[in-house]
Symmetry: none
DNA sequence: CGATTTCTCCCCCGAACGGGGTATGGCCAG
DNA sequence: CTGGCCATACCCCGTTCGGGGGAGAAATCG
């Protein structure tokens, strides 16, 4: 027989976690190699457990599931992560997908469908419901059409940030635009505030992909 | 009864076009308001026909379906376009989605499913098969995090750079990876040398665009 | 086996960055 | 005309970054 798919869980609700763990462990072709209650535990223990698929609650105490996906994928690039949630939290779900999640399921998904989705994601699929599919495609439209993610930036701010994205340091940007170094810094401060980021790299990636 | 959904076709195969047109026209709740053989005809006649949903072959003589979507959406921003194709042409499909297509179906889709998909897209959905869903999500990963031109980077270097691209500062990356700050710095120095860049932002943009 | 690569850690130091202020002039809308 | 937004410019201060060294352990390659 083919080896079982190694599955791990990250779910703070103890009852649901145990329930899922036992169900997966009992299912033929599936093995439960981990069941964590929070993101910190997951990051600490899952690299050693080497799961192939991780089911992760999108709402976790402490570090969010989204943040956890990003960090987990940084350490285990091959792992496939399927987010679990009780609600259709659009914004969070898109962030999770951007951070490396491969699929999205509702917690109320019937167990049989859950197993099918695990197999699907293991085979390179992307299980998600139609609602999420729509969000994803809409997001695609935004990226495809010229308007970037943030139109609240002034033309000058965007101009400065574009040069930042090309790797120039502030001094070079100042010379390039014929303005003072301090002014460049001021524009960037405004960018950070508007984009809710703390570094030039984060701002550049957010606006210019 | 609710008004019929106004559907138009763009399909160069005359036989398939007529077949689909008659099927849609005959279906209760659907109306076929146009059936064009090429992109030029579609752009000329569809604005007057005012369809709500357009089924468009992705391979057309002359102007491609992808290009046609972009131009059609420019004139009819509200129209929903579902691409039809016989093959899984990944690259083309993603371009179509970026240009404003809302869904993607195989030509061999059963007629009943076709009607259901038209309704789905009319209601704001995004009909697509699981294969396309996977492509879309993978593309998402690339935008969020996934390497491109970094064959010379080691796995660790790439791992560090991915976190850099997410806006983390070295100290946070060190904690996240469970290594020393100095080691993170060392990996980044190697990245800069290999990528021929001088700043973290430039490196991040170069590898993760 | 030795050589190379990879990952890890440490030092110094100057430049660059980010956050906190403050301020002036131009322009436009209410 | 007054308030708000924008672009410009400057200060201080602590943190972060990038380049320059050096070095050891493990894995991999030839």
């Amino acid at each position: 027989m083919t080896p079982s798919i190694r599955v791990a869980l990250v779910e703070d609700n103890a009852r649901l976690r145990e329930q899922l763990a036992q169900f997966i462990a009992a299912a033929p072709g599936f093995a439960c190699v981990g069941a964590c209650a929070d993101a910190a535990t997951a990051l600490a223990t899952l690299p050693a457990a080497a799961p192939e698929v991780v089911l992760m609650d999108i709402r976790l105490p402490g570090m969010s599931g989204v943040e956890c996906v990003a960090r987990l994928k940084a350490r285990l690039p091959e792992v496939k992560v399927v987010m679990l949630t009780a609600y259709d939290d659009s914004e969070t779900i898109l962030q999770a997908l951007e951070n490396g999640a491969s699929g999205y399921l509702l917690k109320r998904t019937p167990p049989a469908d859950l197993l099918r989705s695990i197999q699907e994601v293991q085979n390179g699929g992307a299980p998600m419901n139609s609602h999420i599919a729509r969000l994803v495609v809409q997001s695609f439209h935004r990226r495809g059409s010229s308007p970037r993610s943030c139109e609240n930036l002034t033309t000058r701010e965007e101009e400065v940030l574009r040069l930042v994205a090309q790797g120039f340091i502030n001094k070079e940007i100042a010379e390039s635009l014929g303005i003072s170094l301090e002014t460049v810094r001021q524009h960037l401060k405004n960018c950070y505030a508007k984009l809710h980021v703390r570094t030039r790299t984060e701002a550049a990636m957010k606006v210019f992909r």
